[in-house]
């Protein structure tokens, strides 16, 4: 079972050409108060089609997932998921990021603007944290970060007022398969809680 699961992960990794794998060392993990935070200096997800859409004045959505496991990313111990919507100010040439958080009934939004591309990406990762109480104190663990660019809905033009447009449907299915959503994955581990550095305490004000 163990080998089968490992083989599955290997196959999934090989069969996903859009997944950009990065070196494990590029995901840095630290402690900050009651949270476990990450930084990924080498990670650039504001690239390609999402960036083109942003520069055209549209919005681009990103989903981030941080998982903690105790056996090399096979068994999940804790998970955090966040959704971010970015836009690019045409005049100021700066990025704006909105984090959408859902409660039981409503969607709360937190927005930060006037950011450089790097600062916008960092803000997303800063807001992707794991509760320290979920981190095992007595055994090693692995951290995995996954960022996925949301594809804009492509059903536009297929279904509308005149019903189903078969011509448009054929066009969409005729596209090369490479036009899938982009995903970036980073991993770090095995780590021990005692070895993690604490973040510098932030100055008040």
């Amino acid at each position: 079972m163990h080998k089968v699961a490992s083989a599955c992960w290997l196959l999934i990794s090989l069969a996903a050409p859009s997944v950009v794998g990065l070196n494990a060392q590029s995901l840095l993990v630290r402690l900050d108060g009651d949270n476990l935070r990450i930084t990924a200096p080498q990670l650039q997800f504001l690239v390609g089609k999402p960036l083109t859409r942003l520069k055209d004045g549209a919005t681009a959505g990103f989903l981030g997932q941080l998982t903690l496991s105790t056996d090399a990313n096979r068994t999940l111990q804790a998970r955090a998921i966040a959704r971010f919507v970015m836009s690019y100010d045409i005049w100021e040439e700066r990025f704006s990021v909105t984090q959408i958080e859902t409660t039981t009934r409503t969607a709360a939004r937190r927005t930060i603007s006037h950011l450089s591309a790097q600062a916008a990406q960092n803000w997303c990762l800063e807001n992707l944290t794991l509760d320290l109480s979920r981190v095992p104190t007595d055994k090693p663990f692995w951290i995995r970060l996954e960022v996925r660019a949301e594809e804009p809905r492509d059903s536009a033009g297929v279904i509308g007022e005149p019903g189903i447009n078969l011509t448009r449907l054929i066009e969409i299915f005729s596209r090369p398969s490479g036009a899938k959503s982009q995903t970036w994955t980073l991993e770090s581990g095995p780590l021990r809680l005692a070895d993690l550095k604490r973040a510098e305490p932030r100055r008040a004000g």
């Binding site: 549209a58 045409i90 704006s96 996925r148 011509t167």
Partner: protein
């Protein structure tokens, strides 16, 4: 590998399998959370101008599309409106894609919009405007191919419909429309229809019974085929208001080999106002009146006047919508069966079997439908209440009621409707699109 629910992920220390960032997981974490116009920082700018790039000329736009473009200039940038406009341009000009680009305007408060258009290698659309499965009536469907050359739109379609009329009709539709007859506000069109009819047994039995004849006008006999030649002119008075006038020359092939004609003058007026797409609160109004007047002076075997009035008002706030739709109709004189009104369809008195109400249809109709919808995931759950009466002159009118529930996502709907009556209740299932 769905071994867990997203809701349990933040729970106790049970072992869980690592899953990727699947669509199901995201949908569970962010139910009904949409990216809104307010999430775009550029909404603080005003649209200075709208341009087109590629092999597309604004002169080929309809007056409605031009008015829609003009209405955005000078307003705050709204990405939802822009996407909607791009869809309209693509649909009207049968383009492969229309991509909006945002550029800096002449001042720091303004932006320019450039629509980049890409043409198709084949300049026509094939679409399915309607399909429906009705548990009492079976399937109804329509397939159309359309193309536009300069200001000329050509459409050819095949149809089999057991929902709209007393009979099932199947055949072809060919339509030509000139979208710029001297002015953008005048459209000239010609439609040809040719159908074969199939009659329900209940209708065939009813037409032979003497009491089926009402006091004013006899119910005419059935026909096997029907052809319609219909020239029309449409005048777009303003963006929401249009007037149509024309003529309809219908020829029916009878069982005995003979023919009958129903030649009529047709006229209609329509007011249609749609709220701003993507707005948190919107109101839609759609009202139409149509008149068909056949006279023996036109070489018609029938002489009648048919009036039909329909009005729909819908209000949407946040996740909820409420709509009311009224239909009323009246026929004076002797009209062929295809002109008679029907209740118990997929939109009128849903849940009732039309052949139980009146297998011949009626020449008086009053109907009201109230519908409440609440957004659930990507679609909307719906509850509706229909009430209506169908009768002919000299007959008493009986008001019938029905209730139903449904789910709509875009143009797709599934609904289960129940007639409100004593005795056995036989629900009707409807599944389809644009019905």
């Amino acid at each position: 590998m769905k071994f867990l629910r997203a809701g349990s992920l933040v729970g106790g220390g049970a072992l869980m399998f690592v899953l990727g960032l699947s669509s199901e997981l995201v949908a569970a974490q962010f139910p009904a959370t949409r990216i809104t116009a307010e999430d775009n920082v550029n909404t603080r700018y005003t649209v200075e101008s709208i341009e087109l790039s590629g092999d597309v000329k604004p002169a080929s736009f309809s007056s409605t599309l031009r008015e829609n473009i003009q209405s955005i200039i000078g307003e705050r940038f709204n990405p939802d409106q822009l996407q909607d406009l791009a869809r309209q341009i693509r649909k009207e000009l049968h383009l492969k894609s229309v991509t909006p680009h945002l550029l800096r305007g002449s001042t720091s408060e303004q932006v320019k919009v450039v629509f980049e258009a890409t043409r198709r290698s084949i300049q026509f659309d094939v679409s399915v405007p309607k399909f429906l499965y009705h548990s009492k009536q079976g399937w109804s469907a329509q397939v159309e191919a359309s193309t536009t050359v300069a200001h000329n739109a050509f459409t050819f379609g095949i149809v089999s419909d057991g929902d709209e009329l007393t009979e099932r009709f199947a055949g072809i539709v060919a339509r030509y429309e000139n979208l710029h007859a001297g002015s953008d506000r005048v459209h000239l069109g010609f439609q040809f229809e040719s159908y074969h009819e199939q009659w329900n047994r209940a209708t065939l039995l009813a037409i032979d019974r003497p009491y089926a004849f009402d006091s004013e006008s006899t119910v005419p006999g059935i026909y096997r085929t029907r052809q319609n030649y219909q020239p029309v002119a449409t005048f777009v008075v303003s963006k929401p208001l249009s007037i149509t006038v024309g003529a309809s020359f219908e020829q029916m092939g009878l069982q005995n080999g003979g023919t009958q004609s129903a030649n009529a003058m047709i006229a209609g007026i329509r007011y249609r106002h749609a709220g701003e797409p993507g707005a948190a609160s919107r109101q839609d109004i759609d009202a139409a009146y149509s008149l068909r007047a056949a006279s023996r002076g036109w070489g018609s075997d029938f002489s009648y006047t048919r009036h039909r009035l329909g009005a729909r008002y819908a209000i949407a706030r946040g996740r909820q919508t409420l709509s009311d739709e009224v239909t009323a109709g009246f026929i004076a004189g002797q009209a062929p069966l295809f002109e008679r009104f029907v209740l118990g369809t997929s939109s009128l008195l849903r849940g009732w079997n039309r052949y139980e109400i009146d297998p011949l249809g009626g020449n008086r109709i009053v109907h009201n439908s109230v519908e409440y919808g609440c957004r659930i995931a990507e679609g909307a759950g719906q509850v509706f209440y229909d009430a209506g009466t169908l009768f002919s002159r000299g007959q008493s009118s009986t008001v019938r009621h029905s209730l139903g529930i449904g789910y709509r996502q875009g143009v797709f709907s599934v609904a289960l409707a129940f007639p409100l009556r004593e005795g056995r209740v036989d629900p009707i299932l409807m599944v389809g699109m644009n019905y």
